[in-house]
Symmetry: C2
Subunit: 467 residues, 2 copies
């Protein structure tokens, strides 16, 4: 049974063709957005625009699904709710595998009419053997196969992070945020009202998906608590699972009621679920992405003893405060480490005890091959944090942007001498565009990057909860 | 006495000419950086490069200060510590008002030699009537008069935020971060070892400076606790003062010892100082800048009852959780408000209770003139948070960047209908470059902008501590 669910979903994540019902000639129309999105990501199969009267110049257009000559694997529906049951019947006739219903106005509306419409969709789909994602959702984004949830989703290959999201906005936002960092995602699914396929099924599938190494879950509530618990337990045994629970306060739950209409649960309940399933809780989307990146690149620190490397004394001082406040330790470096470092870092304004304030020595990469291994070998340190202030990476009046990029590449070569985990803090300071380039460089080299020391520490701390 | 300190410092902040001792022909040299920095900011007076052997092509060069034909108001010194006393004697002879000593290797080095050198500097200066900033510091950055601390400091006029910083790195980093946001600073001073002028004097001056509305202070420690306390109390009575204390944990204090060598103090001591002087404590530079911007633009919220406006249901849900967790309230909007809003926000997927999820109605600015005043008039709400997900502001496949910019301008017009304070959360999602443009637009229109809901809430909360 379980094996067949994996196979069924794997087919759904690899459709041969897609039809978008409600794709008009208006380029800003949602149905058109899906089609352009698939095209942009290089979807290799056929794409059909379905509209009763309008003709698209960009895609093969038919008035209805039944007018399409060949078979259809996947259908996206973005038309008013009351018209959806009719389309569902056509999907059954065409033998469609999976229908994603973008339209809202179903159970989440809180009306009897919406509920009845959703029940009708479920009945038709169940009888006809068609699986449904939604309603009130975006469906699947899969850069590898070219499935998309909007016209402009990023194409980054080799992603290891998956997201299952009850909210479409958060599915898009999370994906765009990852793309902006050059971080790839393996699979994303926005599942909305969960009238058929939902969090338990996608957890089951992604736990077994070889391309996925970390699973993120944004959830507001569920009517299937038992199944969800089992699926979480199963998935978190196989790979890290990060949960962001929307509506974990009473007032937040009131907001959920009008958003997806799902049953919710207090934060105590969800924390207990996380503890028992070994999932990790995050508190917002930034935290969730931070954690996913950390877990997919270097994993949790093996212990709490931190070596802090900075290129600015002031930042070293209050970063130290932050490290200690967050419950980590900052041991004095061993005598032999200090001795080895003193060969290179001896100028006024530097420090070698921990934090190590490299000051201007940062700009002497000829010493990196000795400096970084010396650091790494310290027996009292489990993991390192490198705090980079962009002010030193963008002295653009006397240095060029190319110098700045080369400096980061050199720094990465230095870091590569180290075997213990290194977490990078690249502060928002100046030249945001250059910061973004540097962030890409560090991430591409396998180092997780955070915009503040506290964000770094929070991700490190949460990543250790699973052990 | 006090009046004369203000006048003396005001002259120091308005020098007629500056000489940089140690400015070689090498463009990357620190002494040259100061000169180019003044030039870039449009300093109107004379600029001299002082070097015994090297000649600059860009500035009038002399081998020594005594060779300069006219008077010299300000001197910047960036030469090895042991040569500084000699230069000090020349400064006395030339009647220089203020010397900034960038050089390190004085008291902060922890050596007897460094301490003796610093004492000698103090003795010469005191006897000769020359004021000293430093050693081990960057000195004054003042966009208005053109004084600079590096070659590439930003030129943003009309700044209302001042910074007094014991650390040069943090003075630069804070200034660049503000500049990156298009936020101007009135005056910045990095004062290092505080052998003469220090935090008490600059607090006294900035408390009386008409251009400055908010004072930030980064401090690691002091030997003048009594004077500092009085100056803080005096300044915080006149305008908001935000303090970032570096080294508020034991380990952090160890880091201070090698950075500026000042006496420190536990976080309990500093929290008590803040309470008694009505200053506000921040925990890192981002927080300090957030707070300064909030205080200089709209001030603290007049109460804890928040109206939350979003353009994405998912973000509305967990932003609500964050608001409640941070100790604010999210009351249901009044019946008459809901009625007024329902005229515009009635589509499936929207919500009008609080949070207000505008969803696609966000894109119908024709309703803004009625929508925003309706919001503003709700009697149960003290202040508003608007959560903008960039995913809706950058649908670049179907919309242009110009559309996105125009949309933000329109949104600002809508917000301008509101009289209660509005705080903007502009999430890092996609198109960082466009986000930065939008951030500039909001800030220029007088709205504080934060990258996450939690950062916004933290700044709001801290800003209320002063009342």
């Amino acid at each position: 049974m379980k094996a067949s669910l994996y196979e069924e979903l794997d087919k759904i994540f690899h459709p041969g063709c897609m039809a978008s019902v409600g794709a008009s000639s208006n380029m800003a129309n949602m149905g058109m957005g899906f089609l352009f999105g698939y095209k942009k990501l290089g979807f290799s199969g056929k794409l059909y625009a379905i509209h009763p009267t309008k003709r698209s110049d960009h895609f093969e257009t038919y008035p209805g699904l039944l007018d399409v000559p060949g078979p259809i694997d996947e259908v996206k529906v973005s038309i008013p709710a009351r018209l959806v049951p009719g389309v569902m019947k056509d999907c059954v006739k065409k033998g469609v595998r999976c229908v994603t219903i973008f339209s809202s106005g179903f159970r989440e509306s809180g009306t009897a009419e919406g509920e009845a419409l959703e029940d009708e969709v479920v009945r038709i789909a169940g009888k006809g053997g068609v699986r449904v994602i939604g309603p009130n959702c975006m469906g699947i984004y899969c850069p590898e196969t070219g499935m998309s949830i909007r016209a402009d989703m990023p194409k980054v290959d080799g992603g290891k992070i998956a997201l299952i999201s009850q909210s479409g906005g958060i599915a898009i936002s999370f994906s765009l945020a990852a793309g902006e960092k050059g971080v790839g995602l393996s699979k994303v699914v926005s599942y909305g009202n969960e009238c058929d396929l939902g969090a338990p099924e996608f957890l089951h599938y992604l736990a077994r998906d070889k391309k996925t190494e970390v699973i993120c879950l944004y959830i507001e509530g569920t009517r299937r608590a038992g199944e969800l618990f089992s699926a979480l337990k199963d998935a978190a045994e196989k790979k890290p699972v990060v949960i962001l629970k929307g509506g974990s306060t009473d007032v937040g739950n009131r907001a959920v009621a009008s958003h997806t209409g799902a049953l919710t649960g207090s934060s105590e309940v969800w924390n207990a679920i996380a503890r028992q399933t070994k999932a990790i809780m995050a508190e917002d989307t930034d935290e969730m992405l931070d954690l996913a990146i950390l877990l997919s690149l270097v994993g949790p620190p093996p212990g709490r003893r931190i070596g802090l490397l900075t290129i600015s004394g002031g930042f070293g001082v209050f970063a130290t405060d932050q490290v200690v406040r967050a419950g980590f330790e900052m041991p004095l470096l061993a005598k032999q480490t200090q001795k080895a470092l003193f060969k290179f870092i001896d100028a006024p304004g530097t420090s070698i005890q921990n934090p190590v304030d490299m000051a201007a020595k940062f700009f002497q990469p000829q010493h990196y091959a000795e400096l970084f291994p010396a650091f790494d070998k310290d027996p009292g340190v489990d993991a390192f944090i490198l705090v980079c202030a962009m002010e030193y990476l963008t002295i653009l009046s006397s240095k060029t942007r190319e110098w700045s990029t080369a400096m980061v590449k050199t720094l990465i070569n230095g870091l590569n001498y180290m075997k213990k985990p290194v977490y990078i803090v690249l502060l928002h300071t100046a030249e945001e565009v250059i910061r973004l380039e540097h962030e890409h460089s560090f991430l591409a080299a396998g180092y997780p990057v955070f915009p503040t020391v506290n964000r770094c520490l929070l991700a490190m701390q949460r990543s250790m909860e699973r052990k």
